[in-house]
Symmetry: C2
Subunit: 426 residues, 2 copies
C-alpha cells in the first residue's frame, strides 16, 4: 500500500470509524462468544501472498466485532471509563505517522518538549503545588507513563534509589550491598495511597498519611488513576488536599479526561530522583545537548503528548470540566433512582461517577441479578466486594452517555431484579 | 467535535499524513533547535475556551515539525529502525476507535483471541519450536509487550517465581521469606542472551549457553529485539538456532517488521509460568469463562494485534521477506562502498541491516566526522563504542530507503571526511 492508496483507504477508515461510533448503541454491549471463537474464523497461518484490502475490511465485522466488548457504548457501565475522543484520535493518527521514538531529547526534541509543557498545562489545571511544575527552572515536573501500575513501579524504584542514597549519606562506611533487602514499602490492600479506589472509589486520608511519611522520610506516592481527572473542577479539587506531602502523584487522563489510551500522567517533586534511578548512558544515546536536554529520564517513547495537546485545545478547560460534571450528574441521577426504590441500597458514598449498589438481600440474589443483567447483553456492569458483600458497580463510562441511557439501564435492572426476586429467596 | 466533523477532519488528517510521508526526504532529517525551543512557542496554560481546529493544525508545522527527528526519512540511519507502514496505521485508527482495554478475556474477547492467534502466525513465520505455539491445546504461546525491556522484566519475574516454586518443592519445610534475596540472574554487559546487540548487531552463542542453562535449571530468556524480524527469511533463520533451549524469547516487530510501535512479541514455553507469576483476581475482573478464557496473564491492553493482522495480510509473508532482504542488501551496498575506500574500515561483521564503520585513525577524527555529519542535518547517524574505538553506526531504517539514498549518504560522508582529514591529524 503506497501513499496514494492510503489516501483512499484512510478516508474509508475514517468513515468506518464514524459509522461505528455513531451507531454503537445498537450493538449488544457485551459479546456472545465462547473462548476460542476467533481461531476457527481465520486461517492457521499468515498468507504467503498479500490478501486484498477489501477482504481485510470485510473481516472486521465477520471476525472482530462479534467478540468486542463495546467500551464506548453508552450502555457500558463496567470497570471504569477509558477515554475516547475525536481530537485524541486525530492526534494519534499524526503520532503514528511521525512515528518517532523519544528515548532521548535528540531522538525527537518535539516529543520530549511538548510532553514537558503539556504536563505543566495539566498540572496547572489540577492546581498542583508549584514544586511539581517544571517551568523553565523548576526541579519537579511531569512525565507520561503507560499505566498507573507503571507509574507505581517507577515511584517504587525511585524511592528505593533515594533511600539507598540517604542511608549511604548517613553512614558512608556502610557497604552498599544488602541495603535494598532491608527496605520496607508500606501499602494498604489497594497498595499505595489511593484517591478513588477501583472497587468503590474510596479515598485514603492523605492529609493524615502525608505528615507521617514526611517526618519519617518515606517516599509518598499518590495514585488517583480514575478520580484524578475530576480535580480540574474547583468543587472536586479538595479531594486532592494533602498532595503537598507527596513525592510523586499519578492519574490517568486515558480514563476520564478524553485522552485515548495510553496516557498515565505522573509528576514528581524532584526530577533528579527519577533521572538518578533510571540513568542509562550508552554512547548511541549521547548527544550535544546531553545535560540541558535531559528533561527527564528517557522514556518519552511515543508522541503521547500530541493527544493531550489536541484534546486540551479542542475542548478547552471549560469543556473538560463540563464533561466531568456531566458524568458526575449522571451518577447522581442513577443514585437517586436506586435510593427511591426500597428494594435496593447504596453501598458506598457516591463521590464521582461510580455508584455501588445492591439488592437488599443475600449475595446470591445479587450475583444472580448481575449474571442476568450481563447475559442480556444490553447493558454491562461488573461487581465488587465491600465488607464481604457482593455489590454491583455502575460506572458512568462513555462520552455519549445521556440521561435516557441511565433511565433505560435502571428500567432493565429493576425488571430483571423482579424476575430474580420471584425465583430466589432473598 | 462530533462524528460529522471527525469525518471531515479525519480525511484532512489522512491527506496531511500522506503529504508528510511522501515529501519527508525534503525535510532536514535532524532538527535545528535548542533545548527549551518549544515552550516559548505556545501558551503557558491550557485555553479556557476551545481553540479552533484550524489553529491546532497550523501549529503542527509551526510548533512540532521544527523539533521532529524524522525517523521515517530515507536519510535516517540512526539507532535501529522503528516500523511505519500504511496498513499498520489503518489498524491503529480502528484500534483507537474500538478503544477497548483487554485486561481480561471478558473485557474484550476479540482482543485477547486475535493476539493469541497472531502470535501463533508470527511464531510459525519464525519457525519457532512447536512448544512456543499456543494452538488449541499447546502449553506455550505468545503475548505482546510494549518494549523488549518490558519483556525482559516479565521474563525475570516469571523466572523468579519458578525458581521459588522449585526450591520450595525440593524443601517444603523451608520458609518462603528470604529465598528471593538469594537468587542470582546472569547477564553479559548487554544483559540477557542477545541475538543482535544494539551497538553492533552481535550475536551471543545461544547453542553454547542454552545447554548449560537447561542443565542448571536456569531460565533462559533470549532477546532479538532488532534481528528477530529477519528470522522469517530461511537464509537468516539459522541465527535463531539454539532457541530450543530457551524458556522465553522476544523480538520487536515494531522495529523491523512494519508493525508500528508498540509491538514487542514475547513467547514462552509454558504459559502457566507467566500466569502464575502475575495472577491477579479482584472480583471486578472475574467472569464466566474465567479458566478457559485465561489465555495468558492479563495484559493485552490495547488492540495491538490488529496491526499485526493488517500488516501480515496486506504484505503477505513474501512481501515481508522481500522487505527484510531489501534492507540487508542496502546495508551490503553501503558496506561495499566503505570497503572500496582505503581511508575507511568496517568495524564489525555486517550480518543484517547495520554497518559499523570508521575512518582509519583516531577516535577524535571519527567524533569530529560524526558531528559534522549530524550538523549537516541531511543524514543522521549515531555512534557506538567497540573495543575502545569510537565507531559510526549506519543502520538502514526507513521503509522508503533506496539505493540512491545510500549512495547520496556515502557521497556526503566522504565529502565531510575529506574536510575533517584536512583539518585534523589522523
Amino acid at each position: 500500500m503506497d501513499a496514494a492508496e492510503f489516501r483512499r483507504r484512510g478516508k474509508e477508515m475514517v468513515d468506518l470509524i464514524a459509522d461505528y461510533l455513531e451507531n454503537i448503541e445498537q450493538r449488544p454491549v457485551y459479546p456472545d462468544v465462547e473462548p476460542g471463537y476467533l481461531r476457527s474464523l481465520i486461517p492457521e497461518e499468515a498468507p504467503e501472498e498479500p490478501d486484498t484490502y477489501e477482504d481485510v475490511v470485510k473481516d472486521i465485522e465477520r471476525v472482530i466485532m462479534p467478540g468486542v466488548t463495546h467500551w464506548h457504548s453508552p450502555y457500558f457501565y463496567a470497570y471504569f471509563p477509558t477515554a475516547n475522543s475525536f481530537p485524541a484520535m486525530l492526534a494519534d493518527m499524526l503520532s503514528g505517522a511521525i512515528g518517532c521514538i523519544g528515548f532521548s531529547w535528540a531522538a525527537s526534541p518535539a516529543c520530549t518538549e511538548l510532553e514537558t509543557v503539556m504536563m505543566d498545562w495539566l498540572g496547572k489545571m489540577l492546581k498542583l503545588p508549584e514544586d511539581f511544575i517544571a517551568g523553565t527552572h523548576g526541579q519537579g515536573g511531569g512525565v507520561i507513563q503507560g499505566t498507573a501500575s507503571e507509574a507505581t513501579l517507577v515511584a517504587l524504584l525511585a524511592a528505593r534509589s533515594r533511600a539507598v542514597r540517604m542511608i549511604l549519606a548517613s553512614d558512608p562506611q556502610r557497604p552498599e550491598t544488602g541495603i535494598t533487602s532491608k527496605l520496607v514499602a508500606y501499602s494498604s490492600d489497594q497498595f499505595c495511597a489511593t484517591l478513588g479506589t477501583t472497587p468503590s472509589c474510596a479515598f485514603d486520608h492523605i492529609t493524615e498519611l502525608g505528615p507521617i511519611c514526611n517526618a519519617e522520610k518515606i517516599w509518598m506516592h499518590i495514585d488517583a488513576a480514575y478520580a484524578g481527572s475530576s480535580f480540574i473542577c474547583p468543587e472536586f479539587r479538595p479531594l486532592l488536599n494533602g498532595i503537598e506531602f507527596a513525592d510523586s502523584f499519578n492519574f490517568n487522563p486515558h480514563k476520564w479526561l478524553l485522552v485515548n489510551f495510553d496516557c498515565s500522567t505522573m509528576w514528581v517533586r524532584k526530577r533528579s530522583d527519577l533521572i538518578g534511578a533510571f540513568k542509562m548512558d550508552p554512547l548511541y544515546l549521547k548527544h550535544d545537548h546531553q545535560e540541558s536536554g535531559r528533561y527527564f529520564y528517557t522514556d518519552n517513547s511515543l508522541f503521547r503528548s500530541l493527544k493531550m495537546w489536541f484534546v486540551f485545545r479542542m475542548y478547552g478547560l471549560k469543556g473538560l470540566q463540563d464533561y466531568i460534571r456531566k458524568h458526575v450528574e449522571l451518577a447522581k441521577e442513577f443514585e437517586s433512582l436506586v435510593r427511591a426504590d426500597q428494594r435496593f441500597e447504596i453501598s458506598a458514598d457516591v463521590v464521582l461517577g461510580l455508584v455501588c449498589f445492591r439488592l437488599k438481600g443475600s449475595n446470591e440474589v445479587n450475583e444472580t441479578l448481575l449474571k442476568r443483567i450481563n447475559n442480556g447483553r444490553k447493558i454491562h456492569l461488573v461487581p465488587c466486594q465491600l465488607s464481604g458483600q457482593f455489590v454491583l458497580r455502575f460506572a458512568v463510562c462513555a462520552r455519549t452517555t445521556e440521561s435516557r441511557h441511565i433511565r433505560e439501564a435502571w428500567r432493565l435492572i429493576t425488571q430483571l431484579a423482579e424476575e430474580v426476586m420471584q425465583e430466589l429467596p432473598h
